[in-house]
């Protein structure tokens, strides 16, 4: 079956200038991301996986190389293009949630929904993440797992084509982490949204359609997972 490419990274290099020394975080990395897949990027810290994710999410620009989303080169338009790209195509989920402390759960999600023309219905999303009861609470009144669900709701309300998750379970306990992964899987399956999940936790690779392994700024291996297992079955 011919798979449709959603995003193409072509020989992407990212060099950080640290004064005297230059650090090459990504070295000529190429990668195709397919529409609707769940891609897990694995790697130890310092392997360049976060840099890759930042570039895919339009938070950072490559030093050289191309990033093509659909048929558009997002590296060629500067700050405004990147902002519009993040606004309309991408949803982010972070390790530390990054919710707005001054807004309630519902208001945090509303904040994102106001940015796009056709957001998903907010009540459905809150129900989906299982927090419609707690929607008037502030982040400071919620557990880590609850905050992460809100963060996911905030990401998906915009109905993005691409959901980028940076260590989404990194700050959570084992049980809660698994529930979050299950939620991400469900979103991937039910909405067809492409999900890219970055983690150093090798066990999580088992739930992806594909697994990319990174080391020292390179993708060293991409494996296809013909039978991804459900998050409930993952042990670490």
């Amino acid at each position: 079956m011919e798979r449709k490419v959603l995003m193409r990274l072509d020989r992407v290099t990212k060099t950080y200038d640290m004064g005297e020394i230059k650090v090459e975080a990504l070295k000529e990395t190429s990668l195709d991301i397919f529409d609707g897949e769940m891609l897990v990027i694995l790697g130890p810290s310092g392997s360049g996986k976060s840099t890759l994710l930042n570039i895919m999410g339009g938070m950072d620009s490559p030093t050289s190389g191309l990033v093509i989303f659909g048929d558009k080169n997002i590296t060629a338009g500067g700050e405004d293009v990147l902002t519009q790209y993040r606004r309309n195509q991408v949803g982010f989920v972070f390790q530390f949630y990054n919710l707005i402390p001054d807004l309630t759960a519902r208001e945090n999600v509303e904040l994102a929904s106001e940015l796009v023309k056709n957001p998903l219905p907010i009540d459905d999303i809150l129900k989906e993440v299982g927090l419609n009861e707690r929607m008037d609470h502030f982040p400071s009144q919620m557990s880590g797992g609850e905050q992460q669900r809100i963060s996911i709701a905030r990401a998906v309300i915009k109905n993005p084509r691409l959901l980028l998750c940076d260590e989404p379970t990194g700050a959570l306990d084992y049980e809660t982490g698994k529930l979050i992964l299950a939620l991400l899987k469900k979103i991937n399956q039910e909405t067809g949204c492409t999900v890219i999940l970055i983690t150093h936790n090798i066990a999580i690779g088992a739930m992806g359609d594909r697994v990319a392994r990174m080391r020292s700024g390179h993708i060293v291996e991409i494996t296809e997972n013909l039978n991804p297992i459900s998050p409930e079955g993952i042990e670490w």
């Binding site: 930042n54 938070m59 606004r87 309309n88 990054n98 994102a112 106001e114 940015l115 400071s140």
Partner: protein, 794 residues
């Protein structure tokens, strides 16, 4: 050693947050600059004043008599409590000026040598009058403004009218004296008018000869022995002079030039205190905000320091050093700038006040006080700002701080309104709710800056208002004439017949003494006909005053002095410098307070009854055809019985010209206001931005544009701006009112008039400094590094 490292740590912090440090310092600089410049100017001027008074032996008390033999001086000097006494002549004469205009010369005589006399004069230019002069040649020295204003050179002669005949005086120089620092004719004039009024100083015997007063004087100056019972001394002197007709008797406080000068000096003195104090209080608020935030960020570092064994005192000392850095740097720069400014301000004011210039521009006591003031307020801010150190526990501080609890906003109680707000506005209101202290301090700064703007523009308003009220609205006449003596109103027909004169209305201006119970006061009675049309009498608030058919509408300040209430009956004694005095009992039927000067109102007929006359007038107002004013003036100037001719247009021009100093004062105030407003809003925005980096980075990631982030931060500034301006207006009005009260004197009080345009300009000023400060503070938005802001967990 240890402290050295902490100082270096502080240095790093200051470098990294330089904008904030400079903003806080700028407010301190502003405060100290105002403090130093205004206090130095005040000090300089007071010094100059008292030195000038001392050098010229400025008298403590004045008594005017109709005429008295010179010998009374010896009698008076024997009165206990009199240290020194000078007898002289002071008389107003009409001037024949070369261009035929009419003006008044106040002839004052001086005995040579002057060494032991009171109210000596200091030669300004030219030379002093000679001690012996031959024949009818009379030398005179004029006040410093008169000669240049009238384009007169040394050696020029000027004619004065004595008993209806012209006598020539030769001007040989100019001189100043404490009693003529403001050469103002009487309390009905607001400003010196050198074109129409001059002081003519003449040798005593020459003066006596000129006026036909050989061996006589009409004014006594007194200096009291320190500690003497002045009231008793005056009573003793008045007893000696009783038979010579005491026309006026007043202390230095009521000497017109001194009263005007003192009032202005007091005004500077009060601005010099309260303006800097408000500045420094706001600077202290800013420092506290910065320190509180610093301590919150450095929570872990403080925990580490405590774990290492530093005690609370050392750590608080470390943070207080920041406040010291701000206050000492601010004080040093403020002192330097203030001293530079003080030179200019002192010279400007000295010129304006006609005080001798060449003042030294710094006063070491003021500088010391400025430094101490700044450091004391800084220390207070430092300690108060760093008390949070006490609450930090070493172990706890190593763990990340729990997420900030949410600030509840009072608005949330009104759910109808709240539910309509966008998430951005909800963030704004809750952020304000969480940082109430900071918001209040910043808001006070904005309010005060708006107040300063109102205050600055108020000066323009009040000048304009007075001009309109005094010269335009109230008065429709073109020319005022005053006669040498009381004349019969029949004689006005001569004036009425002049070509161009449309209408004429008479008045009497007469000095009187009012007695009530055991007190007495000098006052000017202004008598007008009941059907007067050319002049509207108005009180301070612009309300019309009706000329009473009987009785006196008394000036409030005089009423207060005497303890008079409406309905009381007073004894009035006329004090005209010619003719017999008359006494009568008159009822007080009303009271009033005018914008300028004093004077109490009475009906023209009633004044005539008091004078035991029937048709007497002392002056008249003229309506003249447009274009014929000059011709009429020329005709009037040729009439001998006329003492002065005042052209309203000229008065207005003269008034306007003397207002240059107001403009510079307004500009300085506006500058300070903008500096203060900018610094405080900038500081608050920088902190707001820094504290919310992570939050804002998240928003950038979600897809907010730079403009949307900027507008989010701006919402808080918008709240500051709207409320600051709204509250700044009434507070500004109040500030103006209390300022006016603090500078009002017996002769001089300003109305509190603030035009709508002033509020508009102040609001525009407020909008500008908030927007500019916001722009500067959020310059860093486009460099906001989403990646690193989101990685860190601080």
């Amino acid at each position: 050693m240890v402290m050295g490292i902490l100082v270096r740590k502080l240095g790093h912090f200051i470098r990294r947050n330089l904008g904030q440090f400079l903003a806080a310092t700028a407010v301190v600089i502003g405060g100290i600059m105002v403090y130093i410049s205004m206090n130095t100017a005040y000090y300089n001027l007071s010094q100059s004043q008292s030195l000038f008074y001392k050098e010229n032996n400025f008298a403590d008390y004045y008594l005017q008599v109709v005429k008295a033999p010179e010998e009374v001086v010896r009698q008076i000097s024997a009165v206990e409590g009199v240290k020194q006494v000078t007898g002289r002549i002071q008389k107003d004469l009409a001037i024949f000026k070369p261009n035929d205009e009419r003006a008044t010369a106040r002839l004052v005589s001086f005995s040579l040598p002057m060494d032991n006399e009171l109210n000596r004069i200091t030669l300004d230019q030219g030379r002093l009058f000679a001690s012996t002069q031959g024949g009818s040649y009379v030398e005179t020295v004029v006040d410093p403004q008169f000669a240049p204003a009238n384009h007169l050179n040394w050696g020029d002669s000027i004619g004065v009218v004595v008993d209806g005949k012209e006598k020539l005086l030769t001007i040989v120089g100019s001189a100043s004296s404490p009693e003529f620092i403001y050469p103002i004719k009487d309390t009905s004039n607001i400003l010196p008018d050198p074109l129409n009024f001059g002081i003519f100083m003449v040798e005593q015997q020459q003066a006596q000869q000129l006026l036909g007063m050989q061996g006589q004087i009409n004014q006594i100056l007194l200096e009291f022995t320190p500690g003497a019972d002045q009231q008793q001394v005056v009573a003793g002197v008045e007893e000696i002079l009783r038979s010579y007709g005491v026309v006026a008797s007043y202390g230095r406080k009521y000497q017109i030039s001194h009263a005007v000068l003192q009032g202005k000096l007091d005004g500077i003195g009060s601005v010099a205190i309260y303006l800097p104090v408000i500045f420094l209080a706001i600077a202290a608020g800013i420092q506290m905000i910065i320190l509180r935030r610093m301590i919150r960020i450095q929570r872990t570092q403080i925990g580490v320091m405590k774990a290492l064994g530093y005690d609370n005192l050392q750590i608080i000392f470390h943070y207080t050093c920041y406040a010291w850095a701000v206050s000492i740097l601010g004080a040093i720069v403020g002192i330097i700038l203030g001293t530079i400014l003080a030179g200019g301000i002192s010279e400007l004011f000295a010129q304006y006040f006609n005080l001798p210039g060449g003042l030294k521009t710094f006063d070491i006591r003021t500088i010391q006080n400025g430094l101490v003031l700044s450091v004391v307020i800084g220390t207070f801010a430092g300690i108060a700002g760093s008390l949070g150190v006490l609450r930090i526990q070493p172990a706890e501080s190593m763990r990340p701080e729990p997420p900030p609890s949410t600030g509840q906003s009072f608005l949330e109680k009104w759910s109808f309104l709240w539910s309509r707000l966008s998430p951005q506005w909800k963030m704004t209101w809750r952020n304000i709710g969480r940082n109430r202290g900071r918001f209040v301090v910043t808001m006070s700064g904005v309010i005060f800056a708006v107040c300063l703007l109102i205050m600055a523009f108020f000066y323009n308003d009040v000048v304009d208002y007075m001009l309109k009220k005094f010269f335009y609205e109230g008065e429709t006449y073109n020319i005022t004439v005053r006669f040498n003596t009381l004349i019969n109103d029949n004689e006005l027909i001569n004036i009425n017949h002049l070509d161009g004169v449309q209408k004429i209305e008479p008045f009497i201006e007469m000095p009187v003494k009012i007695y009530f119970r055991d007190r007495s006061a000098d006052e000017v009675l202004l008598a007008y006909p009941e059907d007067m049309t050319m002049k509207k009498l108005q009180d301070e608030s612009g309300k019309l005053i009706k000329v009473p058919s009987d009785g006196i509408v008394i000036n409030q300040r005089t009423a207060e002095k005497l303890g008079i209430k409406v309905g009381d009956k007073v004894e009035v004694e006329t004090m005209l410098p010619y003719g017999p005095t008359h006494k009568d009992t008159i009822q007080i039927v009303g009271d009033t307070q005018q914008l300028f000067g004093g004077g109490s109102y009475i009906n023209l007929d009633r004044a005539n009854r008091l004078l035991q006359e029937s048709h007497a007038v002392s002056g008249a107002m003229l309506n003249v055809d447009t274009g014929k004013e000059a011709a009429v003036e020329e005709q009037l100037n040729k009439m001998l019985a006329i003492a002065s001719v005042t052209d309203r247009e000229k008065e207005i021009r003269n008034f306007n010209e003397s207002l240059g100093v107001v403009t510079s004062f307004v500009s300085i105030l506006v500058l300070f206001a903008i500096l203060l407003g900018f610094a405080i809003v900038y500081n608050a925005s920088v902190i707001n931005f820094a504290e919310r980096r992570r939050e804002l980075a998240s928003l950038r990631v979600i897809g907010f544009t730079i403009g949307e982030i900027s507008s989010l931060i701006f919402k808080e500034n918008l709240v500051l701006m709207i409320f600051g301006i709204m509250l700044g207006m009434p507070v500004g009005k109040w500030l103006v009112k209390s300022y006016v009260e603090s500078v009002s004197t017996d002769q001089f009080s300003l109305p509190v008039v603030i035009y709508p345009t002033t509020y508009l300009f102040a609001a525009i000023g407020g909008i500008i400094f908030v927007i500019v400060a916001h722009r500067f503070a959020v310059k860093g938005i486009k460099d906001l590094d989403m990646v690193s802001a989101l990685k860190s967990t601080d």
